[in-house]
Symmetry: C2
Subunit: 508 residues, 2 copies
């Protein structure tokens, strides 16, 4: 079922999709006419929605949160059935989804996010008068959001990408993930109801189901202004290439995953082996390892390897089997695992003999620094409950390991006291790798806040200058416009001389 | 001559280039080894330069300005000889170049440009503690700057792109423009001296001469992190494509020109025909029309066309012939002009019979709204002293004209009093077109200030979210990094709890 503006439509032929626990579902694929209709409505909606006030956008975003909350148990059960995620996680994710909506509502209601800058004119300047120039951010236009398989709520239909684009003043067209079509439909209808009851223009939101072709048609549509994606490198890269090959290229922010290196220093391992092993195994197995911030690489000092590995095995034994999102993801996990374990010089440390999509157990392997540095196959992300321990024998080898890595979402260091303070240079190297640096914590559990940076150098994302989590995410969908020599009456309120909105502004 | 770190080199075979007034010059083309050496030094310099303090970078930028000023008449004469620009303009541009360097020096010395955001942790938050997350901008890495033909100083070797990249903490490799090699060499040596005397790491700056192949090798080098370009659509698009096809794509900000529509409303034309015509002709002919903000399109109400055109002809008669940058640009101008004038339904209003690179006179033509809307050939930029008048007969037709336009750097409206205030909807349409909106002024003469936005939707630039003029230009070369649970001692000064730098920060 397609949600197109204020209507529902199902013109297309059905396609089959398989959700958690092997449930096959049939869903109509959006037709070309439906795609064009959704974009056409978004284009029209943009003409008024781009001028919606912060208060109006905030009311809309809050109404979405309310409508999602009022879905109650039906939503929780649907997500659980489609994704295999446990109830606690689903409820937690629903809470996060609604908090995000409220956070962006607060942001735009307050109003300073437009980064207003004012340079007053000076008619007496020589040799030419200085013009009055004032700048603020304005929305880009209709945004296509590709939803993530691993966050059926928080990074899907009403997730962070949708919330930040709507907050910026951009209509959104969601390409629903085929792994949770019923969840998508419930949430899309909730957004539709919220849009109606807060008086938003029809087309401010649509949601289409389909496959790669559907996504391609959306990205190539001339009236689409930007794209947000969370998923695999292959998927993100394909959209990036499509968008850049358009006659008029558009920005794509694709978050394409990461192996999130964890660096352990010897004294810390010695002092905290058991607690550290439990903490890391907890992070590796959280959500069956299906997080882009999953720690897939642990750089372990050789001298402490034996005791740490023993502690880790104990923690791994204690880890309960978990349900993966769906068979396709489980098979992708097994295939990536096979490729990595078969790449040579890799020693499995903990590999369950029985494993299934419904009850997956973690796998851990080990290799040497030299083998890892030489072999790019060992750098691949294994999406699931897996981590690779790489042992190093000197700080030079550790530095060489870091130098061999590609761009990451996160990089983490475990160390304390003198050992931590004497490794500033190591942190400096790690900073070049990633969008977020963590000390003595795990990368999973991305805090949604103003200061969060969820991004990083290629191939973690397509553009390290942006984030998809936290209020900074809105910046992806807005561009600055300068207003030169405007009379006060014609300036947007954000730039009027008297600052009627009372926002923070930079005065030049 | 290549400036590579603290050395000079000329290993390559000479290539011939033709500057203003047909002067042929021979310059060595950078060899592959020289290119690799420059990037290798930049990569190494980045390791320390990325941590240069605001005060250190400011001292370097100010020293560049001093070194340029101390070149005195030699520089002015060299620029004049190579570019054909008159002395006043060259001196003005030198002033602008040095002001830009001081502006970025002030910006980084003050320090708030890093957009610091602080979210304090909360160990007691349920169900999980809230981490302490702090974010700031850090530099991307070595930047390749392609210099512009039309600004031999202000958008060349030590121009806005170089100044903003160095300010961000990025080493710069300049690909010098073949139209002013001697100017490039003088300025590159000045930067080299400034780097030495302020103790910058070798490789913080290099300058290479060559052709398209040289630029291609630089953009494709794996250690280059970003590209800045000012020039033609063809040139900018080629670099954008190259950068996106790299195994690891990098951001390219290319400013690719614009036709800068000017909208005239009837009452304003009636009240100010002569002054307005003189003002617009002044802008069209400024710098022989060789500005990316040159008004190449004037949307004129049909009812006032006759009187306005008469006034314009008078102003055109009075315009003195000017020297163009070089023969190649003059020939490009003639060829673009021929194509546009020959596109059908175009009536030349003022077309000098005699025209040469050394003494070019402006050309003005006229067409109807219907012809313009139908024919994309009439939308092409003619780089030089040309403008196209398009007459419209109704506000619907004016709106259709605006809808037919592609992305622009600027859009300008001439109107005042009631006529201005009643055309808010028109300004709203114009806002979607451009990065800068101007009322009752000309788009040429881009003010270098905090609020400036010199950018705009494709094809004006490759990314409407950035600017190449004004302090905002630094944002192209920096990415946010979040620091999670860092002890105060290991945080960058900008993020330390006590705010030792006293910068503006957002507290979450």
């Amino acid at each position: 079922m397609q949600i197109i503006g204020y209507t529902e439509s199902s013109q297309g032929a059905p396609f089959e999709t398989v959700t958690a626990a092997g449930r096959a579902m049939q869903y109509p694929k959006a037709t070309e006419a439906e795609i064009n209709k959704a974009v056409e409505l978004a284009r029209k909606a943009f003409a008024s929605y781009r001028f919606a006030t912060g208060a109006q956008k905030a009311a809309f975003l809050r109404a979405i949160a309310e409508e999602i909350e009022s879905l109650g148990d039906e939503l929780v059960k649907t997500v659980m059935a489609e994704s295999g995620l446990p109830e606690g996680r689903v409820k937690g994710e629903r809470g996060r989804t609604c908090s995000q909506l409220h956070l962006f509502a607060d942001l735009v209601q307050e109003g300073s996010w437009v980064e207003a800058v004012i340079d007053h004119g000076d008619p007496n300047r020589q040799p030419v008068p200085r013009p009055d120039v004032r700048r603020m951010l304005v929305p880009l236009g209709p945004v296509v959001v590709f939803t993530a398989s691993n966050f059926p709520l928080a990074f899907s239909t009403a997730g962070g990408d949708t919330a930040s684009a709507l907050a910026a003043g951009c209509p959104v067209i969601v390409k629903g993930h085929e792994a949770h079509p019923a969840t998508n439909l419930l949430v899309a209808r909730a957004i539709q109801r919220a849009a109606k009851r807060t008086g938003m223009p029809e087309g401010v939101f649509s949601s289409l189901s389909g496959d790669y072709e559907t996504g391609q048609a959306l990205v190539e549509h001339p009236d689409v202004a930007a794209v947000a994606f969370t998923g695999s490198y292959r998927g993100g890269k394909a959209l990036f290439d499509l968008a850049n090959r358009r006659p008029k290229p558009i920005p794509v922010f694709a978050e394409m995953g990461s192996i999130n290196p964890i660096v352990l220093l010897p004294q810390y391992v010695e002092d905290h082996a058991e607690q550290l092993a439990a903490q890391l195994v907890g992070s590796v197995t959280l959500g069956a390892g299906q997080f882009c911030t999953n720690p897939g690489l642990i750089l372990l000092p050789e001298a402490k390897a034996e005791s740490f590995i023993a502690a880790m095995k104990k923690a791994l034994e204690a880890a309960a089997p978990q349900c993966m999102l769906n068979e396709k993801i489980f098979e992708g996990y097994l295939s990536a695992l096979r490729k990595l374990l078969g790449a040579g010089a890799v020693e499995p440390l903990y590999a369950p003999s029985e494993n299934s999509a419904a009850a997956v157990r973690p796998t851990v392997a080990k290799t040497s620094a030299a083998a890892f540095i030489q072999n790019p196959l060992l750098h691949a992300e294994v999406f699931g409950p897996f981590t690779l321990l790489v042992t190093w024998r000197s700080e030079e080898e550790l530095e060489a390991l870091l130098q061999s890595l590609e761009g990451q979402l996160t990089a983490t260091l475990f160390a304390e006291g003198e050992e931590l303070l004497s490794h500033k240079a190591l942190l400096d190297s790690m900073r070049e790798l990633a969008g977020r640096l963590i000390i003595n914590g795990v990368p999973t559990g991305v805090e949604v806040c103003h200061a969060m940076q969820h991004g990083g150098p290629w191939p973690a994302t397509t553009d390290s200058r942006f984030t998809s989590v936290g209020t900074g995410a809105i910046r992806r969908f807005a561009r600055p416009v300068a207003f030169q020599n405007f009379p006060d009456e014609l300036l947007p309120d954000e730039l009027k001389e008297g600052n009627p909105m009372g926002i923070k502004r930079m005065e030049g």
